[in-house]
Each structure stands twice: as C-alpha cells, then as structure tokens.
Amino acid sequence: MKLAELQGLFWRSVRFDPMPPELEEHFLDQGALAARARMKLYQDGYWFRQVDALFECFPRLADALGAEVFTRTVCRYLTEHPSRAPMLERLGAQLGPFLARQQDPAVAALAHLASLEHARMEVLIAPQPRAIAAASDIDPETFALASIEPSPALQLLRLRRDAVSRWEASCAASAPALDNALAPVAVWRKGHTLHQQILDEDEAQALDLALRQASIAEIFDCFAEHPTPERRAFQALTAWLQRHWICSFLTPPSP
C-alpha cells in the first residue's frame, strides 16, 4: 500500500466506527495492545479533542443544551463537517447553520446563539487592526466621498433577540422567553476585550454600508429619517471611532 493509501486508511480508522476491516493488514499488534486497540487511542483522541474544543468555544450553547445533548449534537456536526481549518477555534464555523437544519425545534432555536458564540471567537482571534483611526484623521475636503477601512475585529450579525438575551443570561435556568424577532448585533474587540451590542436599525444599516466600502455620504444617508440627522450621524461616527471600529478613512482617487 502506498503512503497516500495508508494515510487514507488511518483517516477512515479515526473517523468512522467500526474501523475498516483491513486495518490489521497494515498495522502491527504489539505487546499487550492489538492494532485495533492502538488505533482506538487515536480515534478517541480525534473525537475527544474536537468535542472538547467545541465545549470551550460554545460555552453558552453547551449550557443551554446540557453536556450530553451537546456532545451528541456536535459529534453529528463533526461527522458532517470535518475540520477545514488549522485552528481549533474555527471548528464551529458551520455549527449555527447546522443547528438551524435540525428537526428538534429546541435545538434549531439555538442556531443563532451558536452563531453569536462563533462570531465572538472569530473576533477574538481576528488579526490586529492595521491602525486605529482618530477624528483628527478626517479630511473635511474629501470626507463625504471617503470610505471606511473597518477593523478586522468587527462583525455585524442579524440574530434572534432571544439568542442575545440567552448569551447574556448566566445559565440555562434563567433562560429568557422565546423571541424570534431579528436584531442587528455588532461584535468587536477593543484592545484585548470583546464587546457586543444590539444596534438601532439606522446605525446597523449604516454599518452594513460601511463594511461594504460605501462612501461616508451614503452611510450618513441612513440617518436621513432621524429628527436631527446630522447630530445622529455625528454621534454614530464618534461612537465607531471610540469603539475602534475604524482603521482608516480611505480617500477616493482623484478623477
């Protein structure tokens, strides 16, 4: 058997139960442990390490489901979604959508909590912002046409309100009432600290445009319906700078 085939056999042996029948043809029984028992050590390690990592990355989800259901659920998830990233923290990237597809409504209802916890992890490990913009970086001559370079440690999500409430609750016993209305939620890192906040709809629309490289003028249009649009836009921009959401203002090229 060639190297590639042996590695394929090893992979199937750790991933699937029962292990392939040809295992003993290619691995040695040694001492007190037969080849199959030896491979079981790797199989146990594969599942334990990844389930353990998901417990660490999704503590609120694990609380909400209980350890036994959480373990069963994430084992099904890992069977369907073997890891595609070298970092264990990225293992749960598809867990939210996976939960949303589950038939058990109690499990499916927690999909947004999983998405929130994964977003928090992504923001925690996001690269360092290249710079942090200040109000003094604003050039009044080009400001309206400039766009924003957002921090890599910022995400905007739309989540069920009860997912946010559940995250904020300290344990499952105090789980909030069901509320499947969607709310815009910003998750960001400032320094070494994670933050999250439900945004007003106008600010969420403005941030969504900013993340898509719209101009400041287009971003500020989101506040046009506000009784004092200029004040509201100024407040939002000031808050974004204070939260370290902006790396720089990108001046458009001259025509």
Partner: protein, 278 residues
Amino acid sequence: MTSLPRGLHGFGLRTSHYDELLGSSSIDATCAEIISENVVGRGGRPLALIEHVRSQMPVFLHGVSLSIGGMDPLAVDHLRAIRELADQIDCPLVSDHLCFGTHGGHFGHDLWPLPYTEEALDHVAARVRQAQDILGRRLLIENVSSYISYRASTMTEWDFLAALCERADCLLLFDVNNVVVSAFNHGFSEDDYLAGIPAHRVAQLHLAGHSDQGTHLFDDHSSPVPERVWNLYRKTVQKMGDVPAIIEWDGNVPELERLVDESRRARREEQAALAEAP
C-alpha cells in the same frame, strides 16, 4: 547561517498564564516557546504576549498543523505568515512535527505517525525543503510520541530522522519525553534511539510529563517531568551539549511558578550532566 542558541531553559507559553506574564517584567527563564497557530495571523492578547516576552528572552515558534508528512499541498500562506512573524520577533527556532494531520483538505488536529519507508522519506524531505525555502530558515522537525506502527516500515524512527536531516538539511527538535513514551509503547530501546540521532542536528529539546496507562504510556503533558525523562535528558545533554530545553505542560496546567521551577531544574540537570560528562 546565524549560530544556534545554546544554554537556554524555558517553557511553553499557555493561555492560562497570559495575564500573569503580561504583568511581569522579570520572568526567571531564558527562553520561551509559543504555539505558532496561537499567534500567527491573529491579534489580541497572544500577539501582545509574544511582544512582551520577546523583550525579555528569545521566543521559539512551535507549529502543530503543518502536516509535513501529509499528502495535501503545504499551507504556503501559513508558512509565509510564520516567516513574517519569525522575522518580526527575530525568532531563532521554528519547528513542527514529523507526522501527518490532514487528509483530503481536512484537519485531524492530531500528530499521526508516518510509516518509515523510502517513499515517505522522499516525500517528507521534499516538503521540508519546500517549507524551508518559504520560511527562509532551517526548520526543526520534532519526533512525535506514537501508539501504533505500520507493517510497511522498513527503518527505525531514528534512522528515518537521521536520513531526513541529510536529505533536507533540516534540524531536529528532540522531544525527550516522546522517546520515552514511544520506546515503551513499541518496545525499542531509548539508548538505541539516542545513539541513532545525529547530535549536531539537534537544536532544541522538549521535556514533558506522561501518564502510565498500564498497557501504554500516554503523552498527555499533564504532570511534572518524570524521573525517567530526566534520566534520558541527562544522557541527551551528555551527547548533545547545552541545547535549549523547553518544558511543555498542556493539561492540568499549574501555576506559572511551577513551570518556572521545572525549567530551573532543567538548567540544574544540564549543568550536572555536563560536569559528569566523560
């Protein structure tokens, strides 16, 4: 080539110690090691920590996901990012493991052993050379602990490592604990292993604990370095000299001071072994 560091003793940086380390301006160690995947391409505390520790001592980068023996293409972008960070912090030693951990684009998050065959040797040597070209420096390859052997193997692990060093012109990270664990699990002699390793290629050592499961030793890094590992460490120092040594502790991680104590002991053991050397 810049000269390799000597006579350094330290420990692996673990998340539970980050706050204490960030608040400390005088860590009683002379080197440290961080898991590359915990810092490359990421911001926040790990990056702040590495910059803080770097101001006090050399920091080595130790990878766990390169899958140098795997069949998937090497993660070129990841290697470039390691090079960028290594240049930035003037990192003297960059390492990963002799193993595979990927298959078909998927990650196993483990260090799976390879068959020790000519085919595997050719494959790994080519990938080590490719990795070194991207890294712009020689890579240290670490022997893993293992629990299973392939019928296809035609050479010992130490012969494979020695041949790999010649073919790829790479260096070795000699994990003393892994030799003890694998020697028990496969029934070979620790002394034969040590004798087969080319001393001039060894640029770093690892020391760690394991647990005795009766039928096998389990490499869990969850306890102090056992006497059996210290014994082999002394022999290793007598053969290889004052190669930098790192204490690894990953499970039931103790207070930082306990880790520092272990690295102090490594320094004492090294001095005693060198004094006794024939």
